[in-house]
């Protein structure tokens, strides 16, 4: 993880001020250009610290200290499972991984959200409709179930920015996209030796 962060830091140096200067204007433009629709309310256009920092166009400067401080804050804020058990039911996890619904203006807010893992990641070898925005996670369970591995995987799902600031991946735990139980189910889908993710490709 250190290697990745260092890469970003080298590529992006100096100050954040050059590109945040116009942000007052952009927020006014967005307020005038969008309207609230069902659960997609206007406050969603307001950015938190991570979103603000990670809105830098490619090649724009980012401050090294800001990166380090923010990453540490995110790491400290990760909530590990209350009862210390990381692994749920891989079958329910498969459903979460395959579903892309939830939190869109046209989604029913009473139904559970999906994780939409397959939009970006390869997982089970028999599912051909996978995206490539993220790395392949096929055979992820081979990494084992040590405490360190469990905690690392949980943290990645909870808040990717704790390791890899400005990763494209959503913060499934920190932003409340998935429940603790859903996260455990996805953990099992990734790590359980019986999960399709960990079966050999035909």
């Amino acid at each position: 993880m250190k290697r990745l962060t260092a890469g970003i830091t080298i590529a992006l140096s100096a100050s954040v001020a050059t590109w945040t200067a116009a942000s007052d204007d952009i927020e006014a433009v967005l307020q005038n250009s969008f309207i609230a629709k069902n659960q997609a309310t206007m406050d969603r256009l307001e950015r938190d610290a991570v979103q603000t920092v990670c809105s830098a166009p490619r090649g724009m400067p980012l401050d090294n200290d800001t990166l380090t401080t923010l990453r540490e804050q995110r790491l400290n804020a990760v909530a590990l499972p209350a009862n210390g058990h990381y692994l749920g039911d891989w079958q329910r996890g498969a459903e979460v991984a395959g579903s892309g619904r939830g939190l869109q203006s046209n989604d029913d807010p009473t139904q559970p959200n999906g994780g939409n893992c397959y939009a970006c990641h390869q997982l089970a070898p028999d599912e051909v409709a996978y995206g490539t925005l993220g790395p392949s996670l096929m055979g992820y369970g081979a990494r084992g179930q040590s405490e360190a591995m469990l905690q690392y995987t949980w943290t990645k799902l909870w808040d990717t920015h704790a390791y890899n600031l400005c990763s494209h991946m959503p913060r499934f735990g920190a932003q409340g996209i998935l429940t603790e139980q859903q996260l455990k189910d996805v953990m099992a889908y990734l790590l359980d030796p019986a999960s399709p993710v960990n079966q050999p490709a035909e």
Binding site: G100, Q104, N116, A129
Partner: protein, 158 residues
């Protein structure tokens, strides 16, 4: 080529059908439906039921070339082709296309006169990954070919 007429639909029967069909242009809908639409098969909600409504159990026949995509980009539009080798399977008068898992498996049925080559292209909705069937009728017998088409989840999911 006159021998073609002596098999399958009789020439007289075909001519009569022509007259009815021509009349139908002036009086659309009612006449056609009453003449030839396989209503029971269209109403069937299970594959077996739809096949039974079309006739006796169909036999697989290699003379039928049934083309569907192995994997479809979208289930709303799945292009299909049905061709029949007239030497291997002559006198085909009807072609039907069925989609196993659709709410009503029979998607379309075509009556084909002897002068028309048995070759149909169309596009059908396929609700989920399943087997598609091309069923043809020749001399009162049913023959078929089947193909599986995988329907993928598109775009951002949802």
């Amino acid at each position: 080529m006159t021998t073609t007429y002596s098999k399958g639909i009789s020439r007289r029967g075909w001519l009569r059908w022509t007259v009815i069909l021509s009349a139908a242009v002036a009086l659309p809908g009612r006449v056609w439906a009453a003449v030839a639409r396989p209503e029971a098969a269209f109403g069937a909600t299970a594959l077996d039921e739809a096949l039974a409504a079309l006739g006796d159990a169909p036999q697989v026949h290699e003379g039928i070339q049934f083309t569907t995509p192995d994997i479809a980009e979208n289930g709303a539009v799945v292009p299909i082709r049905v061709g029949v080798d007239a030497e291997a399977l002559p006198n085909v008068s009807k072609v039907s296309v069925l989609v196993e898992m659709n709410p009503n498996p029979l998607a379309a049925s075509f009556d084909i006169p002897p002068s028309t080559e048995v070759y149909i292209e169309t596009r059908v909705k396929v609700a989920q990954t399943c087997t598609l069937y091309a069923v043809v009728e020749a001399d009162g017998q049913l023959y078929m070919q089947s193909r599986e088409t995988k329907v993928t989840l598109g775009g951002c999911g949802g």
